[in-house]
């Protein structure tokens, strides 16, 4: 089974919950555990929140979410791409460091990228200042076999 979905939503804070729900409902076609599902939803939250808060600040913009499910040797991989056309990140390596945040007064913890990294199997961030940010995350489902 290969499947995909492409979703476009405006950068409203209410849409963080909707993005979680939509990606969760899509991932639900794979026979995953509640824990795997909740890892995926948490990673999506962090990426979407970043686009809303950092990418578009208080301005309104559009967030693109693409999901892909692919199957190889009976193992499923879910790929989630979250993209904004917001202000971009100057130095990705610095931004991805644990506890690094440019909004310390906003009660941001600086742990968003770290959470995505630890809850997913891969994380890839592309960003161009003034053009936007694209986060690509994958997770393999059926964990016992991924440690072979």
């Amino acid at each position: 089974m290969n499947n995909y979905m492409k979703l476009e939503i405006p950068s409203k804070t209410t849409n963080e919950a909707f993005a979680r729900a939509a990606v969760g409902a899509f991932a639900a076609q794979v026979d995953l555990t509640i824990e795997e599902l909740s890892d995926i939803k948490t990673a999506v939250s962090e990426a979407v929140t970043n686009s809303i808060i950092h990418g578009y600040k208080d301005a309104s913009g559009v967030i693109f979410i693409n999901c892909n499910i692919s199957c190889k040797d009976d193992k499923y991989t879910i790929e989630i791409v979250i993209e904004d056309k917001g202000k971009g990140i100057e130095d990705i390596d610095v931004a991805m460091q644990p506890l690094y945040t440019t909004s310390p007064n906003d009660e941001r913890s600086g742990m968003g990228f770290t959470v995505m990294q630890s809850f997913m199997d891969s994380l890839d961030v592309n960003s161009v200042l003034g053009e936007g940010t694209k986060v690509v995350m994958t997770k393999r489902i059926g964990a016992e076999n991924t440690y072979d």
């Binding site: 804070t13 209410t14 919950a17 409902a25 639900a28 026979d31 555990t33 509640i34």
Partner: protein, 77 residues
């Protein structure tokens, strides 16, 4: 159909937020029971099957129950 709908709506209105909370609670109970029985974590589909709903619906229900403040907030704009 219209008459019945009007009656139901005027009378015992059940909000989705409430129903989703019920489903989430039941899912939690089923999960605990299955874990005790099988000694492994049940999948979303197994729990959904037990509750007679689709895995997609179960995922959505659990999501809504988790964050009623954000999913049902009508604060924007």
């Amino acid at each position: 159909i219209g008459e019945i709908k009007r009656f139901i709506r005027d009378d015992g209105i059940i909000k989705v937020s409430r129903a989703y909370k019920d489903i989430s609670y039941k899912a939690f109970t089923v999960k605990e029971r299955m874990m005790a029985e099988q000694k492994t974590e049940p999948t979303l589909a197994e729990i959904a099957n037990e509750l007679n709903i689709t895995p997609q619906e179960l995922s959505t229900a659990m999501e809504a129950a988790r964050s009623p403040e954000s999913l049902y907030a009508q604060t924007d704009d």
